[in-house]
Symmetry: D2
Subunit: 136 residues, 4 copies
């Protein structure tokens, strides 16, 4: 009996206190691609009623790490990333989709789009690019 | 009677639900420089017991915005930033110090170092560079 | 009689001394997308015989600016960008394809992939993400 | 008789065709710090008479690599970097100063400021942050 990549990924997420605090869920996970979702709650907002940029960053960072881990193995960390915010995030749910642009033996370069869903419509609110690295 | 920049900054931080959830405090704030601190609690950790990268990102993002706002005025947003993680963050307290590298009428380019304090010692655990923009 | 976007773009490129020095050509140009190519010559190499990273950066930077300019108008500049190098660039020709991820009235966030062609095969050797801004 | 770090660095630079084409010189080189300079010539300009962004990128990229190589050894490459342009570069000479923010066994995170000198005055025109990695 084998544990699927998705199951393994969900175990890791459940072991991240910060991810539980925010309420992130691993929606899909396969080699080269990870999808995290996060219901928007009041506690995630900033002073103008938008989702705080730090939340979008957290989600992008985590999705990038999952994408990298899907090709490098579970013991990885985010070495660095960059994020561009495209529009204020207003809506019910965030979705982060990360993919692997290229990878070697110890590193993977990954991209992530963060979308916000509002009334059934999804809009790109941030996009990120970063490096995931094997630990040790 | 005037309200100081630090007082204004603290009002904004108090109006950020997400910052209150995490427990960030504005320690110092003057034109061109902002300092945020964040006591490390269990809820901010990831699966290896380190502070989650998303927390470091949040803190850098917010400190960058404050630094930019100190020269552009309060109605600003983070357009983009990049962060490099230098070492796992283990300790009692995070400190993010952001400064303005250069600014124009509508934008400021800011840097931020994130340090972790452990047993009286401070170590650099992340460094960031980003653009803060006036809204509208 | 109208001048096409491609013709306008080629005029700008011809007015860039540095682009002429390197030999870049604008291969395609339409709203939201720009494609620059650059034949690899000995003068573009570094000490290991690979194309110098600075050449890939130049090409990504310029392609990002063209992509942004295609939706913002010709008077734009690159505010910032980030580039990840994926593999050493060895081959006969570089191709940079930039697209607009999102844009507003004064800014556009653009992505760029840089590919190297060798013996009829194309490989991704760098990927970039950046902000293009209207001047003034 | 030993060869100094500066001499070694200059040998590498002399072996970079692209650096010779542009005219870069290694002005100073010590553990943790590198300084490259580049006289501004007409061939480095873009259509508005400013130094082309690609030139600033090249210089930042190369200075970052030198800084990383000063602590990691000569066989390094730039994994990624981000650059923010602060003002148009107009002047006689560019100077890029790169320092190591933090380093491990295989990687170094480095910063670089690019200044332009005009009539005896130096102004910051770009700032960069990136990762240098040991090859192999």
């Amino acid at each position: 009996m084998t544990t699927s990549l998705l199951d393994l990924g969900r175990e890791v997420l459940a072991a991240q206190n910060f991810s539980r605090l925010l309420g992130a869920q691993l929606e899909a996970y396969e080699p080269g691609r990870a999808e995290l979702v996060l219901p928007v709650t009041d506690q995630l907002l900033q002073q103008n009623g938008f989702v705080h940029g730090g939340v979008l960053s957290y989600l992008a960072d985590n999705a990038l790490t999952y994408a990298g881990g899907s090709v490098l193995g579970p013991d990885v960390l985010t070495a660095e990333y960059k994020i561009n915010y495209l529009r204020p995030a207003v809506g019910e749910r965030l979705q982060a989709v990360a993919t692997v642009a290229g990878s070697g033996r110890t590193q993977a370069v990954c991209r992530c789009d963060v979308l916000v869903e509002q009334a059934g419509e999804r809009k790109l609110c941030a996009t990120a690019l970063g490096t995931i690295r094997k630990r040790g």
